[in-house]
């Protein structure tokens, strides 16, 4: 059972390679898996450096989104006024398609790295914000009553009840936002093109497609997919570890 996904994957790759060989599909239409591995082997440093650049944007954006999303959720939970002021803007930000505003952001924010981080942050922000907000409100009302009974100050209820209750929600938001930050970084790079940072994996994909270097383009795509999967599982594992250490998972 455990090996079923790997076996299935290998089988699919073998069929793909066989189809490409038997049908003599030209490499600029669809490269086989071996050609893709070959393209990676031809320039591993270049592709991995590009991946590192994209991941740098991803993690920077994830960090900013975690801090901003968390802080705004806390502000909202602490004050009704803040809630009324923040909520509609957060939703507006969420429903705005990134490709539509990325060009503006890239023009406004002079520095290309910062511009990419801003774009990826916009995509990664909402799950962190919304999850933390519902986590802060997730404690059962009896516990609120208990804190009131003992005359707890607002900051005490926040520190001892709401924030700890929100942690699992924040961590699952972080996992969702990790993947989104990567997507945001890639989309922003694609929009920016050569006018942007010009060092990320998405730019390598653009470049390879212009030159019809399909195997290289696919190699970059595969790297991106692997990075996304590792990011997702990694953030999930970190979250589970933190919750286990706190005795709540």
């Amino acid at each position: 059972m455990k090996w079923a996904p790997a076996l299935f994957g290998l089988l699919a790759l073998a069929l793909w390679q066989a189809a490409v060989w038997i049908e003599h599909v030209p490499v600029y239409v669809l490269p086989g898996p071996l050609a893709i591995v070959g393209a990676f082997a031809a320039d591993p440093v270049g592709l991995l450096t590009a991946l590192a650049s994209t991941l740098l944007v991803t993690f920077a954006a994830l960090f900013v989104a975690a801090v901003l999303g968390g802080a705004m959720a806390v502000a909202m939970s602490a004050s009704r006024l803040a809630q009324a002021a923040i909520q509609p803007w957060a939703v507006a930000l969420q429903v705005t398609p990134l490709p539509a505003i990325a060009p503006l952001i890239i023009i406004w924010v002079g520095d290309p790295f910062v511009a990419l981080v801003v774009c990826a942050t916009i995509v990664a922000f909402f799950p962190l914000f919304a999850n933390t907000a519902s986590g802060l409100a997730s404690a059962p009302p009896e516990l609120d009553d208990l804190f009131r009974l003992y005359g707890a100050r607002r900051w005490q209820t926040m520190a001892l009840l709401r924030l700890p209750a929100a942690l699992p929600y924040f961590l699952s938001g972080l996992r969702i936002s990790g993947g989104l930050a990567l997507v945001g970084a890639v989309v922003a790079e694609l929009v920016a093109g050569s006018g942007g940072f010009a060092s990320g994996l998405a730019y390598r994909i653009l470049e390879a497609s212009f030159r019809l270097e399909m195997p290289r383009m696919f190699a970059a795509l595969v790297l991106l997919a692997i990075a996304g999967i590792v990011l997702n599982f990694g953030l999930g594992a970190v979250g589970r570890m933190i919750l286990r250490r706190r005795g709540v998972a």
Binding site: E142, L143, D145, R148, Y150, G151, A152, Q156, L160, G247
Partner: protein, 244 residues
């Protein structure tokens, strides 16, 4: 200690949860508030705790209004902080009034010991059974040495064996702590076994219908006493009359 004076409470939407409810509680009383669900028992308890305000009537406290720690509250669920150990959960009321851990720990351990949880100080709620979680909740309510302990159907979700044990242990805790207990229940058997005074409530609007005094010994063996069965019968008859 406290006189509830013709108190009324109408919730938004027009539900009259309590009307003209009067009840006097004295030092070391053990009162059971007994009635079918929806008759306003929890509402009355929350008013006494200061978690809700009456729309009419007054609460008159002998010797001044209570300060935090004078009242302990035990809910139907243990309502523990799942990320905190048993001792940190019991520490909470003291922590909220600014006591340091070092100052509080002797009191915390004494409270856990009193409910039979010595040795479980560092256990998390997940690792404890339902009955043990309820014991932590009772220790948390006792740790401030409250004058008044309010309990809202605390054993309703437990199995019968655990419930019997906790009821008997609660009597011991009450005798040692010397506080007043107001215990909400919808079980006639529980009210008859525990309380010195059994106060019957009826719904729509919530009212106090009758009060029955118990002369049973507050000990575990009472359950086998024919007088206990007689009291259950007496309460059942009074409840049937009140609801008729």
């Amino acid at each position: 200690m406290l006189t509830v004076n013709t108190v009324g409470r109408v919730f938004p939407g027009g539900i009259e949860a309590l009307r003209d409810t009067s009840l006097r509680m004295d030092e070391t009383d053990f009162i059971a508030l007994l009635g079918p669900s929806g008759c306003g028992k929890s509402t009355l308890l929350r008013l006494i705790a200061g978690l809700d305000q009456p729309d009419s009537g007054r609460l008159d406290w002998d010797g001044g209004a209570p300060v935090p720690g004078d009242i302990g509250f035990v809910f139907q669920d243990a309502t523990l902080l799942p990320w905190s150990t048993a001792e940190d959960n019991v520490f909470l009321p003291l922590r909220l009034r600014g006591m340091t851990r070092a100052e509080a720990m002797p009191l915390v351990h004494a409270a856990l010991h009193r409910v039979g949880l010595a040795g479980f100080e560092t256990a998390r709620p997940r690792a404890l059974s339902g009955g043990m979680r309820m014991r932590v909740s009772i220790a948390r309510a006792l740790v401030t040495k409250p004058r008044l302990l309010l309990m809202d159907e605390p054993f309703a979700a437990l199995d019968e064996f655990t419930r019997h044990k906790l009821q008997a242990d609660l009597l011991e805790v009450w005798k040692q702590a010397g506080c007043t207990v107001v215990f909400v229940t919808h079980s006639i058997y529980e009210a008859a076994f525990l309380a010195r005074r059994i106060v019957l409530m009826t719904p729509r609007p919530g009212k106090i219908a009758a009060e029955i005094a118990s002369s049973l010994q507050p000990v575990a063996e009472t359950r086998l006493d024919p007088a206990y069965a007689a009291l259950v019968t007496e309460i059942s008859r009074a409840m049937a009359a009140a609801l008729a």
